[in-house]
């Protein structure tokens, strides 16, 4: 068990008797081993950076590795709730793991703060007073890509995503704001790494733009093969395939591609500047989208701790909902279903020296909530 306890020892040494004698216990379940580990490591590092900077003695974080397996995640949630008696859970990266864990955890009266996944079921009918999403609802970035495509004047998009629920949500999200025709709509195999056949179909179609959602290695493969295929259409996609962690593996193939994100390292505010600098100093790499979400999640939690006791659930919930912290994204507030209402930007992939990164070129959507808030009754 990896304890990051800044609590008891420091408090004792100073002889401080704090109002909250019991430290608040946070259980973090995230992916730290195997294929998707990069995302979980970023969330963890961002979260722990904020905890460290706050210097708050009353927080204790227990970190566990879910190996990206739903059954392990459920087991760890049981452990954290039953044995460790944590007050708050956080950390899950993948929607399918979140769906396995979150309903059970919130039903037991614990708080869950999502630093990444935002499945539609938890934003709409399945919303819960103790569930807060600090990242986005899953559709958001795809919706923003659709809005950007519409504004840019694309009339015939070719769209593709893997054949699984998040992939279907992605194409639905894109089509929600894009109002042109579709030159083609393809569901690829989950985990597919060769896109020659799809690229041939794109080439043969009369598309004027391409939208894709292919997270992780799938996106790297697609972009490299796209660049090599000679198809020369503009590409838009959500930030997941263009993030700091994987851009270096895509290389020149990503240059100039437009992608949508609620965060970037050049968002101009003090919190973000300080975050980017201190993250680099601490870990020796540029922060990613996921790191910023982990950082914001921790700061939200710390802000609520400052004004309410976690044992008073109603007060603590109200303190979380107030979102009284300075976010790396600038303005941040929660909608009625406890999901963010925020601006979503369009970024372009550029090269700074030897490093591939993004810069913001436009705002795709302002104060965007999500499509499911109306279905949420709580």
């Amino acid at each position: 068990m990896k304890f990051f306890s800044l609590a008891a020892s420091a408090a004792l040494a100073l002889g401080v008797v704090s109002a909250n004698a019991e430290p608040l216990k946070v259980g973090m379940i995230t992916t730290l081993s195997g294929g998707g580990a990069g995302l979980g490591i970023d969330v963890r590092d961002g979260f722990m950076l904020a905890v460290k900077q706050a210097g708050n003695e009353n927080i204790e974080v227990i970190i566990e590795d879910d190996q990206r397996k739903p059954d392990i995640a459920v087991q760890l949630a049981d452990k954290l709730v039953q044995s460790e008696k944590v007050d708050v859970l956080t950390g899950i990266i993948w929607s399918n793991l979140a769906m396995a864990v979150v309903p059970a955890v919130t039903a037991q009266g614990k708080f869950y703060l999502s630093p990444n996944a935002g499945p539609s079921a938890l934003a709409g009918k399945g919303c819960h007073p103790n569930y807060f999403n600090v990242a986005w609802q899953n559709d958001n970035l795809h919706e923003a890509a659709g809005a950007y495509a519409k504004e840019t004047g694309y009339k015939k998009s070719f769209i593709l995503a893997p054949n699984y629920p998040a992939g279907k949500d992605a194409l639905t999200g894109y089509k929600r704001f894009y109002d042109g025709e579709l030159a083609g709509e393809i569901y690829t195999k989950l985990g597919q790494t060769d896109y020659a056949a799809e690229l041939a179909q794109i080439r043969a179609s009369d598309a004027d733009s391409v939208f894709f959602f292919l997270p992780g290695g799938m996106g790297i493969s697609f972009l490299k093969q796209y660049a090599d295929s000679g198809v020369d259409l503009p590409v838009v996609g959500p930030a997941f395939s263009f993030d700091q962690g994987i851009l270096q593996a895509v290389g020149d193939a990503a240059l100039g591609v437009k992608n949508t994100s609620q965060w970037n390292k050049d968002i101009d505010n003090e919190t973000n500047k300080a975050f980017v600098e201190s993250f680099q100093a601490e870990y020796g790499r540029l922060p990613s989208l996921y790191a910023s979400q982990g950082f914001d999640t921790a700061n939200l939690l710390l802000s609520a701790m400052g004004s309410a006791d976690v044992n008073d659930a109603d007060a603590f919930r109200a303190a979380l909902l107030a979102a009284d912290f300075s976010s790396t994204r600038g303005d941040f507030e929660f909608g009625p279903n406890h999901h963010p209402v925020q601006d979503i930007f369009v970024r372009e992939v550029i090269k700074e020296g030897d490093v591939y990164t993004n810069k913001i070129i436009a705002t795709a959507m302002t104060d965007r909530a999500d499509a499911y808030a109306a279905e949420c009754k709580m």
């Binding site: 081993s33 393809i186 989950l190 020659a196 041939a200 043969a204 270096q248």
Partner: protein
């Protein structure tokens, strides 16, 4: 769908097939000669890709990267054979499955420990990048054409190696009668190490070549491993010819299935549903093909032994 698009898709299927062949050839040789089920073959593919990415990153040369992939995978293969695999030949398939599964765990997490959790960069060399125009006006990526050529050349080389050289004769003898070749004074331990390293090198080569157009990351080997097993089972275990035919069948089924099944489904149902159902069927297609082949020919298309 135009004829040109169809030809292009057939080329894509071929390219996918020949890369699978590089994986499957080693797997089937190792099974044929040593009777070993090697689940860790996918790890050797990954090692090839990582060696190539590391060397390409340091030197900028794709040729050196390929050499590193071949050498790295062959050395890793030889080491594993001497340290672990050698003790498994006499054991039953069960022990082999478990031991080589353990090797996957060690190789995957070891690679992550060495190279970190983020994918590495490996790109197509400039000389081979971009599309070329084929007769008939098809624009096709030059690199993929090169892959088809390299794959077919390796296949030819393997046939010559097996049929014309001394080591090939020993390999064939080893497939037929193990005691016999030991009695003839062939150093069987050395032969096994060589065969294993050869299979590993082919897997490493495939990893490096494919890594240039895909993502070089931990866990990249396992999906390919499963496909390679499908290939050698369809072709008949131990048969190089079977591996080639099986690889091309799987490559074409996978590629063409993904395109045509959704179209076929549109004849019966709404387009949105058809796209999704067709895609599901396409992802199951090669396994259905494999089950069908085995039901009709229980030892694969070219397999003799059980």
């Amino acid at each position: 769908m135009s004829l040109l698009l169809l030809i292009e898709q057939v080329l894509n299927g071929l390219q996918f097939g020949v890369m699978l062949f590089l994986m499957a050839a080693g797997l089937t040789l190792i099974f044929g000669v040593m009777g070993l089920i090697n689940l860790a073959h996918g790890s050797l593919y990954m090692i090839g890709a990582f060696c190539a990415a590391a060397v390409a990153g340091a030197t900028g040369s794709f040729v050196l990267a390929l050499v590193a992939a071949l050498a790295g995978a062959a050395i890793a293969g030889a080491l594993v054979e001497i340290l672990v695999i050698r003790r498994l030949y006499g054991k039953d398939h069960l022990d082999q499955v478990l031991a080589t599964f353990a090797l996957i765990l060690i190789f995957s997490e070891g690679t992550r420990w060495l190279f970190g959790s983020f994918p590495l960069f490996l790109d197509v060399p400039d000389a081979l990048s971009g599309p070329v125009t084929l007769p008939g006006g098809i624009e096709y990526p030059f690199y993929r054409l090169t892959l088809i050529a390299v794959g077919l050349m390796v296949a030819l080389g393997l046939f010559l190696l097996i049929s014309r050289t001394r080591i090939g004769i020993q390999i064939r003898a080893g497939e037929n009668d193990r005691e016999m070749i030991a009695a003839l004074g062939v150093d069987i331990g050395r032969l096994y190490t060589i065969v294993f390293a050869l299979g590993a090198a082919l897997a490493g080569l495939a990893g490096a070549l494919v890594g240039a157009i895909q993502s070089v990351q931990v866990g990249m080997g396992e999906p390919v491993l499963i496909l390679a097993f499908v290939v050698i089972v369809i072709g008949g275990i131990g048969s190089i010819k079977g591996a080639l035919v099986g690889a091309l069948l799987v490559g074409l089924t996978n590629t063409l299935g993904g395109i045509f099944l959704p179209e076929v489904m549109k004849l019966f149902m709404e387009p949105a549903v058809a796209t999704s159902v067709g895609a599901s069927l396409a992802s199951m297609a090669i396994y259905i093909l494999m089950a069908a082949v085995l039901i009709l020919k229980p030892t694969g298309l070219f397999g003799a032994r059980v």
